[in-house]
């Protein structure tokens, strides 16, 4: 009724095997399926390098990988899903950095600092592969927010926010703090408005005072 797209639970076997794979139980994957996933991802990477993100046509990817388009869709759900899988691969290293690496990104620094470091790092991540993120964020809201990268980021920030402000609605604040780094908005700020990554980072810092402000954030508010 609201939107045509919806992706049934079992339709996408694995949207990418990032840290997320740890959460769900490691459902088995048939050998041919695994082989095809790798093949498709490789082919997609190759095409992207050659022709850019705009050249990532589903038919071409399928052909380059030597599979039918049906297989592409079974594996990744849709074009955006493919993009997320690609991003997830590259994001593995950042995930490791903020979970096990040195502070302030990794554990050891105070939570507010870590959130800040994380957002700055996320800016760099976007900077690196903006077009691919744009393609990924084409997905329906449902797909988008269940995707590997988003879930990992959200979970991480959410935990840190809760730590920094146990009284606040950490779940919401986390999503709100991540929102300005939506690929669409970021692309617009960089390309249309000509903002520099540095300016964006400082801007984010200004937003972050909601993490360091004492308990009473509602000082000026009525209801």
């Amino acid at each position: 009724m609201s939107d045509t797209r919806d992706i049934g639970e079992g339709r996408i076997e694995e949207a990418g095997r990032g840290l997320l794979a740890v959460l769900g139980q490691p459902r088995p994957e048939r050998a041919d399926a695994a082989r095809n996933r790798r093949g498709i991802l490789e082919a997609a990477g190759r095409i992207m390098a050659e022709r850019g993100v705009a050249g990532l046509l589903m038919n071409d990817v399928a052909e380059a990988a030597g599979v039918g388009v049906g297989t592409l869709y079974r594996r990744f759900g849709d074009r955006a899903g493919l993009a997320y899988a690609l991003l997830d691969e590259q994001g593995r290293e950042m995930q490791a950095a903020f979970m096990y690496g040195p502070p302030p990104l990794g554990p050891g620094a105070p939570p507010a600092e870590r959130v800040r470091a994380f957002l700055h790092a996320q800016v760099d991540v976007l900077e690196e592969n903006l077009d691919l993120w744009l393609m990924a964020d084409t997905a329906s809201p449902t797909v988008r927010h269940r995707s590997g990268p988003h879930l990992v980021n959200l979970t991480h920030v959410s935990v840190l926010v809760r730590e920094a402000r146990p009284d606040a609605d950490a779940q919401y604040l986390a999503e709100a703090l991540l929102a300005p780094l939506a690929a669409d908005l970021y692309a617009h700020q960089r390309r249309e408005r000509g903002m520099s990554p540095e300016r964006i980072k400082s801007g984010l810092d200004e937003l972050l005072c909601c993490l360091t402000a004492g308990g009473d954030a509602s000082s000026a508010h009525g209801s």
Copy 2:
């Protein structure tokens, strides 16, 4: 290279005649063009009422309006543009409310209060027509941020933020504060996570302390 879509300056004669029309000089519009715009918008409204947003197929709208699809595209640029035009019509009243209405939404209240009232009002606006907003935000980043509703909102908030925090990067903060109300995210929070509009409003309030915090927002930050 990055994305196929781009909409040349003169391709869309008027993306909707909201307050925006005041900014650009009132370029003339041929009589038949105006008649068609109205017809299309009416037809689209009718179809939307009957079949929902998902039923808004470009061919159907064109047929129902008694014009060719080419005309649809000349007038509105693309499917998302049509959605924006539809929203712009309904948004006229909210625009009036925050520009000329009573406080705290309208002039008279302190700027931080007004931003808060505005964000809350925006939640209600989303609530009213979420699917249409989702359809609209399908647009390419460029189109999206040049669209009537977004420009008006951004300008408004931006002015208020500058007033509240003359020292801060008002332009950026405004976009960042509006970001959590992106239709995608909002829809996800409402539908998947089951957050209530009230919870979202309180969440936004927590974010807003960056407007009331004294001058030194960078207290906890290094560089």
